[in-house]
Amino acid sequence: MGSLLSGCERGLSGDAEFATFPKNPDVFIDGFSSGLEYRPFAGSKFTAFTVDNQTKYAGSAAMRFDIPNVGDPNGAFAGAIFPDMGGRDLSGYDALTFWAKASQGATINEIGFGNDFGENKYLVTLNNMRIGTAWTQYTIPIPDPSKLTYEKGLFWYAEGPEGGNGYTIWIDEVKFEKLGTVAQPRPSILNGEDKTEQTFIGVSTTLTGLTQTFNLSSGQDVTVAAAPSYFTFSSTDVDVAQVNENGVVSIVGTGTATITAVLNGVKAKGSLTIESLGTFQNAPTPPARNAADVISVFSDAYTNIPVDFYNGYFAPFQTTLGGADLTINGDNLIQYTNLNFVATEFKNPTINVSSMTHLHVDIQIRESIDPGDFISIELGDFGANGAFGGGDDSSARVQFTSGSLSSNQWISLDIPLSSFVMASKANLAQIFFISDATISTILVDNMYFYK
């Protein structure tokens, strides 16, 4: 009160400054810069990184990375982050630069900054960086420097063998710079495509393909993968779809909304238009059964067997996309698009359904049904050798023609296993859905055998 009465109450002095972090641009010049640490990825070859005093671009030392051979007992790949956990203010720079060469021509899988083994909020990755045997300077631009007022992840990389063989990379003079020539920003979401997705209330989907492209003084464009937090996302109708700072789109109502993004004032190429069809009717919940009476491949009601995949992407004839990557109202679903045929495979181990009586599966066809449309369900048995081929495989299919199908509602099929006439059902490993492209988009749920 005294100070108030005397009129001495103080506001923020003009001299007051917000706490700032070191602006040190150096990462590795001839050694670890102040605060820099080496933290290899779990599963990587921890000894892959050393400081090389013999081979260097300039000064007295370079970073050396010995990428392991395939089968190296010490780790299948090399990868690490180099953070300064105290944080640095990099907002005055526009790029990370370094000189690098390798013992052979190679393509480094991932290299960049912003990885701190934490939130990785401002992660930047240059994918598939080509490297040769001559020292070359590389520039990894910062998508929006104003974001990096407190950045811990100064440098990171991950690389595996090339064609099975290990090799060596040298990287030197790693530092952040204000080049002034990082220009013509062209951000993208969804890799620049305008996509439309039919979906339902309760579905969440994550925006992918987030990139920033700059033109460098060399005249070359460089495109980096940029974390969602570099972008500001917006929805044309927040009563239909909302998007958070991590690029996760949540469907909250019925109707149409378009998601777009801006990076540092530049509109990103690409958009996601949501066509929300409203409330989704989940497939009927399977009845309670004794564990011995059911072998479940895919359901939220029973314990599922180990499944290798829900889409084998069999080349060259398969067009089907999608798999078990959809969750609506907490219920996991399989969604296939561009369907011609697709297999769910479970060979580790195969299953014996000889004692079961039925296959149950719920299918929803997300399009109108034409007279020639059909869906066949095929079982594949790998025979006594438990592996594809070897002359002991058998299979059989049951077809459902258009008259027995309906669109946009669940079709619950309980197919007697006796309908599948095949040599063996003791080493079952595959369930196929086949439409020969007559039906393109389906949802699948509750795929199990029972008695």
């Binding site: 204000k178 080049l179 002034g180 020539t181 220009a183 013509q184 062209r186 033109n215 003084s217 005249g219 464009d221």
Partner: protein
């Protein structure tokens, strides 16, 4: 070629507003303002500030239309038009737009303005403040040709390239003269690299100061070259009137063709063109 630098640039007579400096030496090194005045050539003879929206001032500017012979002698790929789509004045700028479109058999369109028959001058200070386009295959230029070109033909008429630039080298400016015995690939030429900046992200002043026995080349406050009769292996043909050209070419011998990565449309913004004597 004589390599003039700032310390021997006694002919550099630019003075930045708001800067009071005691010597030319310090002036050339210290000035960071691209607004300039001329001391020895301070009489404004011609100017276009591009303040009237619409088509450029017809009392100053003509157009070259079409593809010329062999792409204007350089295998350039664009078709020049005078359509507003390719050339217009807006918001205080002359805007030349190079676009990728099928037009009269060409795959690109753009514009080339010239003062031929409307304005030509012997000697003086010629400058323009511009922001350049970018990307592989873009070739903007601010240049001059001898006004007697129709009678003596090129290169005898002489050519002064105040600014040429390759879109794939966004930091590098090229200034040249062409004349008899030193034309095309044998032009007397010098490039200047901008440090920590580019020509496509902001405006820069490109100019020459041309007298009876010299042509000085400068960008912003930097004199980067001087060409004199001693520097050319043929006749000095720069003692007669020249007219001005401004264009954005696409492709051609100097730059090569655009690639799929070249972004179109591309624009060149010209804030002003001024000529002093």
């Amino acid at each position: 070629m004589k390599r003039a630098n700032q310390s021997d640039a006694s002919v550099l007579v630019v003075i930045a507003k708001r800067l009071v400096l005691s010597t030319f030496f310090a002036l050339a090194l210290s000035c960071t303002d691209d607004t300039q005045q001329v001391v020895t050539m301070g009489t404004l003879v011609m100017q276009d500030e591009f303040d009237t929206p619409g088509a450029p001032d017809p009392t100053i500017w003509n157009y070259d239309i079409g593809t010329g012979q062999n792409g204007w002698g350089n295998n350039e790929l664009q078709y020049y038009t005078d359509r507003p789509k390719n050339v217009t004045v807006q918001n205080g700028y002359l805007i030349i737009t190079a676009d990728k479109e099928s037009y009269n058999g060409s795959s690109y369109t753009s514009a080339r303005l010239l003062t031929k028959g409307k304005f030509a001058q012997t000697y003086g200070r010629f400058e323009a403040r511009m922001r350049l386009p970018w990307g592989q295959g873009l070739w903007p230029a601010f240049w001059m040709l001898g006004a007697d070109i129709d009678s003596v033909t090129w290169p005898n008429c002489g050519e002064i390239d105040i600014m040429e630039y390759r879109g794939q080298d966004p930091t590098i400016l090229v200034g040249s003269v062409h004349g008899p015995g030193y034309s095309g690939g044998n032009a007397i030429s010098k490039s200047y690299e901008l440090k920590n900046d580019r020509f496509d992200t902001g405006f820069h002043v490109f100019g020459i100061e041309w007298g009876p026995s010299y042509i000085n080349y400068y960008v912003d406050d930097v004199l980067y070259n001087q060409i004199t009769p001693a520097d050319v292996p043929g006749t000095w043909v720069f003692n007669k009137p020249f007219f001005i050209l401004i264009n954005v070419a696409v492709g051609g011998n100097f730059v090569g063709a655009p690639t799929s990565e070249t972004v179109f449309p591309q624009t060149m913004l010209i804030d002003y063109v001024r000529v002093y004597k």
